[in-house]
């Protein structure tokens, strides 16, 4: 019998805070701010590019071109929340991409098997780095700085300059769309529409269930207006994107299915599993986590294994997109992923950060890339602008926190 049953019933907790809509939005300024910023940036480019940004085929290629950031940002959020950093992912993508292409073209490994092996090898690379970080205790900054050089060097050794001549099936991953099994409805691809509808349905269902759980447990819920508003907004976003994709030449890009699946899986891992909980606990207070029996070394190790695994996925996507392995592939990918995580509200000091935030951060980066390219802005200026956006997002975060702190 638990000791507590002998305890006296305490007084009831103080009144549950009601919290109006304004107060709620104020507290969640960061999350909604970034979503709003994304929409503003999209609208801005829509105007400056004379509507070319949201041409159906551009939406499809926006996703195909930026899939790597979305994938890497997922792993990077976990790394940063735990209080680390990974500078090596760009080089690791080049290295793994090279291995993948060589397996297919020189050793005639079936491409699907090569894809699986690449992802497994990614996990092996993660084991290597995780070992030094978790069990030897070298700061991740140093280990992955080393990894950045090591794997770039190995990529050049392996690939030379380029390995090309990859099969169509492999190249289709990042360049083609799902076949139109369901035909067309008024010029719109049926498969895309069905996936869009399923996504919206899943979104609404999971949110309604989560809210019902909160209500049943008498926990604080967001105001009803905000709840409905958020669902309508995100649902509308999915609907618009689905509509545009359904109108594009191919329909549903294959990589979007991959990215979508990863987002769902990792949101679940971070939000609902013991592993995810331990990552937040370690980032929030490492000492407290250790003294609570969290096996911190093991968790750190697994975080980097996972980052390697996702780098494997990103390597496949990148190599497929280019139709070839290039020694210089993946340059600055680590910086894109880190920037996406920070723009998406991940705390520099660890302990705070969401997959959904990083996805929004990655989309902001992607839209900036696409919009500026359509406008023929020089790449040098593109870099400068992205740098300023990163700085502004984190400055906003810190000032907002300071304001909340002084209240």
């Amino acid at each position: 019998m638990n000791a507590l049953s002998t305890l006296p019933k305490g007084s009831q907790p103080s009144d549950v805070e009601e919290g109006g809509l304004g107060e709620y939005l104020g507290r969640n300024l960061r999350q909604y701010g970034m979503m709003a910023a994304l929409l503003v940036i999209v609208a801005l480019f829509q105007v400056t590019t004379d509507g070319r940004l949201l041409v159906p085929n551009n939406v499809a290629s926006l996703i195909q071109q930026n899939a790597y950031v979305l994938i890497l940002a997922i792993g990077m959020v976990m790394v940063i929340v735990a209080g680390h950093i990974d500078l090596s992912v760009g080089s690791v993508v080049a290295f793994l991409g090279g291995l993948c292409a060589l397996m297919i073209s020189n050793h005639h490994v079936p491409w699907l098997l090569a894809v699986i092996l690449t992802i497994v090898l990614g996990a092996v690379v993660g084991c290597w780095q995780g070992f030094w970080i978790a069990y030897v205790g070298i700061p991740a900054f140093i280990v992955t700085l080393g990894g950045m050089l090591i794997f770039r060097g190995l990529a050049i050794v392996l690939v030379g300059t380029t390995v090309s001549g990859l099969p169509d099936g492999f190249n289709a991953i990042s360049n083609n769309s799902l076949p139109s099994w369901l035909g067309f409805v008024g010029g719109l691809d049926g498969v895309t529409l069905v996936i869009g509808l399923v996504a919206i349905g899943g979104l609404v269902l999971s949110n309604v269930r989560a809210r019902r759980d909160l209500v049943r447990n008498e926990l604080k819920t967001e105001p009803f207006v905000a709840f409905v508003g958020r669902l309508v907004l995100v649902g509308l976003l999915i609907a618009v994107v689905s509509y545009l994709l359904a109108k594009s030449t191919g329909g549903m890009p294959i990589v979007l299915v991959v990215v979508g699946a990863l987002v769902v899986i990792y949101t679940f891992i971070m939000g609902r599993t013991v592993f995810g909980r331990h990552i937040y606990a370690m980032g929030g207070n490492l000492h407290a986590a250790e003294l609570s029996g969290v096996k911190t070394k093991r968790v750190n190790f697994m975080i980097f294994v996972n980052m390697g695994l996702l780098a494997g996925v990103a390597a496949v996507v990148t190599t497929s997109r280019a139709g070839a392995a290039v020694a210089a592939a993946g340059t600055n990918f680590e910086l894109d992923a880190i920037a996406a995580a920070f723009i998406g509200g991940t705390a520099v000091t660890g302990g705070i950060g969401k997959i959904s935030g990083a996805i929004i951060g990655a989309l902001i980066m992607g839209v900036l890339n696409m919009g500026l390219s359509i406008m023929n802005v020089d790449t040098a200026w593109q870099m400068t602008i992205k740098g300023l956006v990163l700085l502004a997002a984190v400055a906003f975060d810190i000032l907002n926190k300071r304001r909340a702190g002084t209240q």
Binding site: L4, L7, P8, G10, N217, V274, A281, N285
Partner: protein
């Protein structure tokens, strides 16, 4: 009241409040020119706070009361201001930069230079002269890491002399020193006294105070109790000082309780622990401790006695190296190599520093409560969100944690409620042994009573409870049996009926070998 030539410092009506705690209340102290003035008191009596007020660490305006130094009122905004008039404080943790030389450290922030360029000749020459004054035979270009703690302490004093110190404040200067270094330091204070430098020394070592101090001010619970003239007609004994430090009314501060003591649950035998960095230092020295079911056992000791180190080394070796000895739980020897081993063996440990070691302050109540036993609300690695809420809600109600909801971040709770979250977290692991390290530190009186009640109820439910506390009245009011520790050793074991604050304090100040002087 005008100050005369014989008085160098007067502090009048000093009151300093921290959120929820009155650290100092109407403290008054007068220091005569050229004397060695000791400040004594239990942990938490307000000694360090008082000297921090005096030296400007807590700026003027953050406390009430007046400070007169050489007859002039003082309104220090920072340490710089107090140093400008000749008041220098040397903190318990020395403020030296380890990889800089002795000379560089002496003039750190006060460099001998022309137009921003360091004058190395002047630096080393003046440093050598200061080192000679404090009797330290080292070259000024020796790095700080290469000399021992005793010599580092002398470097700090040389640094103070370089600032033309008139009033030198030392916070527990001999706590980390061996006997020879302590003796040398105290002799140096006497020597400086001859040169007209007044000293204030905070110390736990009563034999030192009896040997060196000209007067002693005793603080208790943030108030001045008395100032004793050490050269008065009646010789001042250590017992005389102890009486002043502990005398206080115990009535009505503790809920009445009778323990029903069962079988032995925890036994620690011959437990020895070494310092994690300085491996030659023995932190816990062949300690033996037992706790039975339903029993509340206290562990008393002054700062640095090794109480927390003992607890944490037993709790899955979360402190120390070269640990030896045996731990038995329910009579069976267990090998607790990690915290999770200790938790599975039925041990729980709540830390003395909730914010640094106990809680994730940027996470909410429910996630903090489940963090030490997440497996109890999860299946195959997936957390059952509803089950989690239901479990934690029970603890909130039964420990009456006052918060708007379980989603409130623990960083926003009061000290008492934070402590209840910590206790909930460990009760959730369903332990047999609870080690509570300073369970009421930084908590207001009302919440303290609730925590005491809770501890009593846990004992009634058959838990073995070990309470570490620096407040002797708390141990006397709560425990069935009290161990005392000093310098890593268990120096006494007293049943509640036989225990008084005086006997405990005597055991707590037992020195390893004879007197320091």
């Amino acid at each position: 009241m005008a100050s005369d030539d014989h008085t160098i410092l007067q502090m009048r009506g000093i009151t300093k409040t921290f959120p929820g705690v009155k650290a100092l209340q109407d403290v008054t102290m007068t220091v005569r020119r050229g004397e060695v003035h000791a400040i004594c008191g239990e942990n938490g009596a307000g000694k360090s706070t008082l000297v921090r007020v005096l030296s400007g660490v807590y700026p003027h305006g953050s406390y009430e009361g007046d400070i007169l130094f050489e007859g002039e009122p003082c309104r220090f905004r920072s340490i710089r201001d107090s140093e400008a008039v000749g008041i220098v404080i040397i903190h318990q943790e020395l403020a030296l930069s380890p990889y800089l030389s002795i000379g560089e450290n002496i003039f750190l922030g006060n460099e001998r230079c022309t137009h921003g360029v360091i004058d190395w000749t002047a630096t080393n020459k003046e440093a050598a002269a200061l080192l000679a004054r404090v009797g330290l035979d080292e070259s000024p270009d020796t790095r700080i890491v290469d000399v021992g703690v005793g010599k580092q302490q002398l470097v700090e004093i040389a640094k103070a002399l370089s600032k033309r110190v008139k009033l030198l404040i030392l916070d527990e200067p001999t706590a980390a020193l061996n006997d020879d270094d302590s003796a040398h330091l105290l002799a140096l204070l006497r020597h400086l006294q001859g040169q007209g430098i007044t000293s204030i020394i905070i110390s736990h070592k009563l034999n030192e105070i009896a040997a060196i101090a000209d007067s002693t001010t005793i603080l208790r619970d943030g108030r001045t109790i008395e100032t004793i003239d050490m050269h008065g007609a009646v010789p001042v004994t250590e017992d005389r000082i102890i009486n002043g430090m502990v005398g206080r009314d115990l009535a009505h501060r503790f809920p009445p309780h009778t323990s029903h003591i069962g079988e032995e649950v925890l036994r620690v035998e011959d437990w020895t622990v070494h310092h994690p960095i300085d491996r030659s230092r023995v932190v816990v020295d062949h300690a033996n401790v037992t706790v039975a079911a339903g029993e509340i056992v206290g562990l008393a000791g002054l700062m640095g006695a090794g109480r927390t180190e003992l607890a944490r080394s037993v709790f899955g070796r979360s402190y120390g190296t070269s640990i030896s000895g045996r731990v038995l739980v329910h009579g069976r020897e267990v090998h607790l190599r990690s915290v999770s081993d200790a938790i599975s063996a039925g041990l729980a440990y709540t830390t003395e520093d909730r914010k640094r070691f106990g809680l994730n302050l940027i996470e909410d109540i429910k996630r903090n409560v489940t963090s030490a036993a997440l497996h109890k609300v999860s299946r195959r690695g997936v957390v059952d969100a509803s089950g989690e809420v239901t479990s934690v809600e029970r603890y909130r109600r039964e420990l009456s944690i006052k918060a708007a909801s379980l989603d409130v971040l623990t960083g926003k709770l009061s000290g008492g409620n934070q402590q209840k979250v910590v206790l909930s977290k460990w009760l959730f692991t369903d332990p047999d042994v609870l080690i509570l390290d300073e369970p009421t530190r930084g908590i207001d009186v009302g919440a303290k009573y609730e925590i005491y009640e809770l501890i009593n109820r846990l004992a009634d439910a058959g838990k073995a409870v070990l309470v570490i506390s620096s407040e002797l009245p708390e141990l006397l009011g709560l425990c069935d049996r009290i161990y005392t520790m000093s310098q890593g050793r268990i120096t006494g074991e007293v049943a509640r009926v036989d225990a008084t604050q005086e006997t405990l304090m005597r055991y707590m100040t037992v020195e390893k070998r004879g007197a320091a002087l």
